[in-house]
């Protein structure tokens, strides 16, 4: 919509950088082949798109063994693949208090298969405390909450897990592409492609460190080992059955290369500056309930709040009608809202992104001022 101030980048980034759109269109207009299906030039071009995207992701996130990056439809698919592929009857997983339904629902479903899960010992932000990592099969944490924005100390948690022999899985939907973080002790990293990594919807990935061998999530054609009824033993073929989303992966690759040029430190500084402007304005206005953590450096690039005396849905709807795109409700993370004290009504969330400007943030704040005056 023309004139919209888009502050919903925690849901999906928008607008996409030009090279992302061009990569998707170019793939659809000029490539046409399917990766790994024969060595003809079009199939080869498609295979190169997947290869280049894997290498660019590995470069951006400092992941070894790029062949262990498995493309998925989204982070949810990656989380399901990892949880259901690694946890067995009798295993226990520990989680943060801020997990998205894409973690809690698969774990709830796994209860029927004899898998247990509970909260880890938590810090003041509801995230696992690195000093008290439980001796379980797997520790799962959000890299940063999509509701409070609180950022997990994945470096310290990873070290603790490594020491204890606990598998460490990070849901990096809110952090990959938004900020630098230490991946050296992460065993399973799950990412959404369409948020801060700037790709189109319908693409994401999961990376497994060497030695972590999940069950296959799907079986089918891979273009390799076709005579066998078994999936190939080598990666990525083992975990990528069926025709891949080549245009989407091309877009994701272009988004990642855009970020490599910009640098994650610069991206993070920009989002911190935008969030600081929002937080400082809200913290000084008693019509607004601003939820912690307070410091923009302590949180991902999002701010959750409510307007006193106004239902969050009404506030969001009013903002939407005035040209501000934001997200209201429970954000598919009811546990995070329970922790924040906003369950069941939820909150309003604004999330600037790498394409947002300070001018847009200031215009949003003046619109919010008018909305709060009318409550």
């Amino acid at each position: 919509m023309p004139g919209t101030i888009y502050l919903d980048n925690a849901a999906t980034s928008f607008p996409k950088p030009g090279p992302v759109v061009k990569a998707v269109v170019r793939t659809m207009e000029s490539v046409g082949g399917n990766p790994g299906r024969g060595g003809r030039s079009r199939a080869l071009q498609a295979a190169r798109i997947l290869f280049d995207t894997r290498m660019a992701i590995a470069d951006l996130l400092k992941l070894g063994h790029p062949e262990r990056i498995i493309f998925t439809r989204n982070a949810t698919e990656g989380l399901n693949m990892a949880l259901k592929g690694l946890l067995r009857k009798g295993d226990t997983a520990a989680i943060s208090a801020l997990e998205h339904n894409s973690v809690t629902r698969p774990l709830h479903a796994l209860k029927k298969r004899g898998v247990k899960f509970h909260h880890a010992l938590l810090d003041k932000n509801g995230l696992p405390d690195p000093k008290h990592v439980p001796k379980v099969k797997m520790l799962v944490t959000t890299g940063a909450s999509n509701v409070t924005g609180a950022v997990a100390d994945v470096a310290a948690l990873g070290k603790a897990c490594r020491r204890l022999g606990v598998l460490f899985m990070v849901d990096a939907a809110q952090t990959a592409g938004a900020m630098p973080f230490d991946t050296s002790n992460i065993d399973v990293l799950v990412c959404s492609g369409h948020k801060a990594l700037l790709g189109p919807q319908g693409v994401g990935f999961v990376w497994f460190s060497p030695g972590v061998e999940p069950d296959t999530w799907m079986e089918g054609g891979t273009g390799s080992d076709s005579e066998s009824l078994n999936m190939p033993s080598y990666w990525p073929d083992r975990h990528e059955a069926g025709t891949m989303n080549t245009p989407g992966i091309a877009g994701l690759g272009a988004g990642v290369k855009f970020l490599l040029k910009k640098g994650l430190v610069g991206v993070r500084e920009k989002e911190v500056a935008l969030c600081r402007a929002i937080i400082e304005w809200m913290a000084n206005d008693d019509r607004i309930i601003l939820y912690p953590p307070r410091g923009p450096e302590e949180r991902a690039g999002l701010v959750s709040f409510n307007v006193k005396g106004m239902d969050p849905a009404e506030a969001g709807d009013t903002l939407d009608r005035k040209g501000v795109a934001c997200r209201v409700g429970l954000h598919c993370s009811p546990d995070a809202h329970r922790f924040m004290g906003t369950f069941p009504d939820g909150a309003v969330r604004v999330s600037p992104g790498v394409m947002s400007t300070m001018k847009e943030v200031k215009t949003f704040l003046s619109i919010l001022d008018r909305v709060a005056r009318r409550r």
Binding site: G39, L44, A47, P66, G223, Y234, D237
Partner: protein, 83 residues
């Protein structure tokens, strides 16, 4: 495939493209191509390269730890012999 060329076959498409990148970085003229059906491997791709570069290619494969299936030369009879 031209006279004086060999092909290198790797375990997967990803590994083939990774090797191709390394060979190009070493300024060796290579080309990704369709793997001949008669060569027993599960990957459908192969890399052609000048026979004179075999030693250099072998060094790169060893140094970078590529998962190689083998090097092959086309024989006059039309089949392929492992080098």
């Amino acid at each position: 495939m031209s006279v004086g060329e060999l092909i290198a076959v790797f375990i997967s498409t990803h590994e083939t493209l990774r090797a191709e990148r390394a060979f190009r970085e070493a300024r060796i003229k290579v080309r990704a191509t369709v793997k001949p059906r008669k060569i027993g491997s599960n990957c459908q791709m192969a890399i052609t390269f000048p026979e004179g570069k075999l030693a250099e290619i072998k060094n790169i494969v060893k140094k970078d730890g590529f998962d190689l299936v083998g090097f092959y030369r086309k024989r006059e009879e039309g089949d392929w012999a492992e080098v």
